[in-house]
């Protein structure tokens, strides 16, 4: 499988030479179409990893390669979603979702002439995440979970090759979270998009990912890599199997000891 994302021996330090060393000797590769999850203790550099891959930060040493290109500036083939939804309150949900199209080079010149086509696409995405008919509402008229779904739509509208999710379901209740896991699972299956998911929820990582990277405490590097054996398509029922719980248990143990070392 060709690699879409390749991080090789990367060091990233914030705030000059005497600043915080966030990640050190970080190496990881994610194949095209793969679903990778990153877990690790708090403050170990997971969000930093996201920013390195998207080109928001450039590492002091080491190489980040995305889609065969050395990353030296923000790469525009990604969609991002964070824990807080960052919807713009003066735009309707639909206009929020269309925002990336006004930015990305490939789309911004076509947007005005092909508005109908794009709006249809956005409405289709809204339907996929269970928000049909909410496009004309403002974000502050939606609940937290609904905003998070809209946030996903915004990350997907420009058909990114790579979807970066940084704890996108952290603030949701268990049932909404499971529902959105299924949405993500189906999107991944249907569109063949490559996904990197940062999460604190080990069950989420195990349920969704093909591979799970466990990071050490700061400065972060990859301690261990797991391949998740469960066959796709996975049903929520898989979480009640013994193998699933064993895996979660093992991950839990690894992170617990990574925290102690720090």
């Amino acid at each position: 499988m060709p690699h879409l994302v390749s991080i090789d021996n990367v060091d990233m330090r914030y705030g000059g030479a005497a600043g915080t060393l966030a990640v050190s000797g970080l190496t990881m590769k994610v194949g095209k179409g793969e679903f990778a999850a990153v877990v690790g203790p708090s403050g170990c550099g997971k969000s930093t990893l996201m920013k390195l891959v998207t080109g928001l930060h450039i590492p002091q040493s080491g190489v980040v390669i995305v889609a065969d290109k050395h990353v030296t500036k923000p790469v525009s083939i990604v969609g991002m979603a964070f824990q807080n939804p960052t919807m713009l309150p003066w735009r309707t949900t639909l206009d929020n979702i269309l925002l990336p199209l006004e930015i990305v080079e490939r789309h911004r010149h076509r947007l005005r002439a092909n508005k109908r086509e794009y709006v249809e696409k956005a409405e289709h995405l809204l339907e996929t995440v269970g928000l049909k008919g909410f496009g004309s509402k403002f974000p502050w008229q939606l609940s937290g979970g609904m905003q998070q779904r809209a946030n996903l739509c915004r990350a997907l509208i420009h058909e990114p090759e790579l979807l970066m999710l940084d704890e996108p379901f952290g603030a949701l209740d268990a049932f909404t979270r499971e529902e959105l896991w299924c949405v993500i699972r189906d999107l991944h299956a249907a569109q063949g998009v490559t996904i990197i998911l940062v999460t604190h929820d080990l069950r989420e990582a195990t349920f969704l990912a093909d591979r799970i990277f466990v990071m050490s405490a700061r400065p972060g590097k990859v301690l261990k890599e797991h391949t998740v054996p469960f066959a796709r398509p996975r049903d929520l029922e898989v979480m009640y199997e013994k193998g699933f719980n064993d895996m979660v248990h093992e991950l839990h143990g690894e992170i617990a000891s990574a925290r102690v070392v720090a």
Binding site: P74, V75, S76, V78, L88, W90, I103, R154
Partner: protein, 273 residues
């Protein structure tokens, strides 16, 4: 956006006593104003203050009627200098605010300068303006401008400088340039701050124009009041004050209305802090 009128049901229901059919909250400002005038009138009657110290409101209204033509002319003049100064302040304040808020470096460098400038009492600048432009409308306009543009600048710059880093990250990861981020996020985001500052700015603009008219003009309410004062025509002084209050309230209400119309979303969302 539709306006939902509350309390329509009780006012249309027949058979209720009159006191319950009246919207007291809406009426309150008028009642209190009338109350204030009545209290003032009574005070003057009880204390028997001579009209050269504190004229009764009835005396003031009489003065308004008596001198209506000069009062009207001078009110328009003051409204004109204030509005022109305020309009310049809006344009310049918006431009300078956008410039200062553009980057952290400019913000850091210019902010202390702005604070220093704002610390100068603008009244102290009137003599300089008179030296440069002579007496008349120009110093009044410029004083109104100088005194009112600062809150606009600070508010616009703050709106720009406080964009959430996550929002910026999401857009930058898509390849957005600084200009994109400013146009799509920064400027819309700073609009509630901008429109909010207009209410403060218009009030200050009146202070500036009247002060300048008082010391350095032959027109305007400020000038009218200072010459009335030198002739001991105290009721006319108070008439001028009353006109200023009316103009101030009207312009403030206009700004508040514009704010509501333009940035209704900010009052409902949690964005504004």
């Amino acid at each position: 956006m539709s306006v939902v009128t509350k309390n329509t049901a009780p006012s249309t229901t027949p058979g209720k006593p009159l006191a319950q059919r009246i919207n007291w909250v809406k009426l309150a400002p008028w009642l209190y104003t009338v109350g204030l005038f009545v209290l003032w009138e009574l005070l003057v009657i009880v204390l028997q203050t001579p009209p050269t110290i504190l004229p009764a409101p009835s005396r003031v209204f009489q003065a308004i009627a008596q001198y209506w033509s000069p009062i009207w002319k001078n009110s328009l003049q003051t409204l004109y200098t204030t509005t022109v100064g305020f309009a310049i302040a809006v344009v310049a304040g918006l431009a300078i605010g956008l410039f200062i808020g553009w980057s952290k470096a400019i913000y850091a460098g210019l902010y202390p300068l702005m604070i220093g400038f704002n610390a100068i009492p603008k009244v102290a600048l009137v003599p300089i303006l008179v030296i440069w432009f002579g007496i008349g409308a120009v110093p009044a306009i410029l004083t109104a401008f100088l005194i009112s543009f600062f809150p606009i600048v600070v508010n616009v710059a703050t709106g720009l400088a406080t964009i959430e880093p996550e929002t910026e990250d999401v857009l930058r990861a898509l390849g957005a340039k600084k200009l994109d981020i400013m146009l799509k996020v920064g400027i819309p985001r700073s609009m509630p701050y901008f429109f909010g500052s207009l209410k403060i700015a218009i009030t200050l603009a009146f202070v500036g124009s009247v002060v300048s008219e008082t010391v350095a003009s032959n027109y305007g309410l400020g000038n009218m009041m200072s010459s009335a004062q030198s002739q001991f025509n105290v009721p006319l002084v108070f008439a001028g004050l009353l006109m200023l209050a009316v103009e101030g309230i009207a312009m403030y209400a206009l700004m508040a209305w514009i704010e509501m119309r333009m940035t209704g979303w900010a009052h409902r969302s949690s964005m504004s802090h």
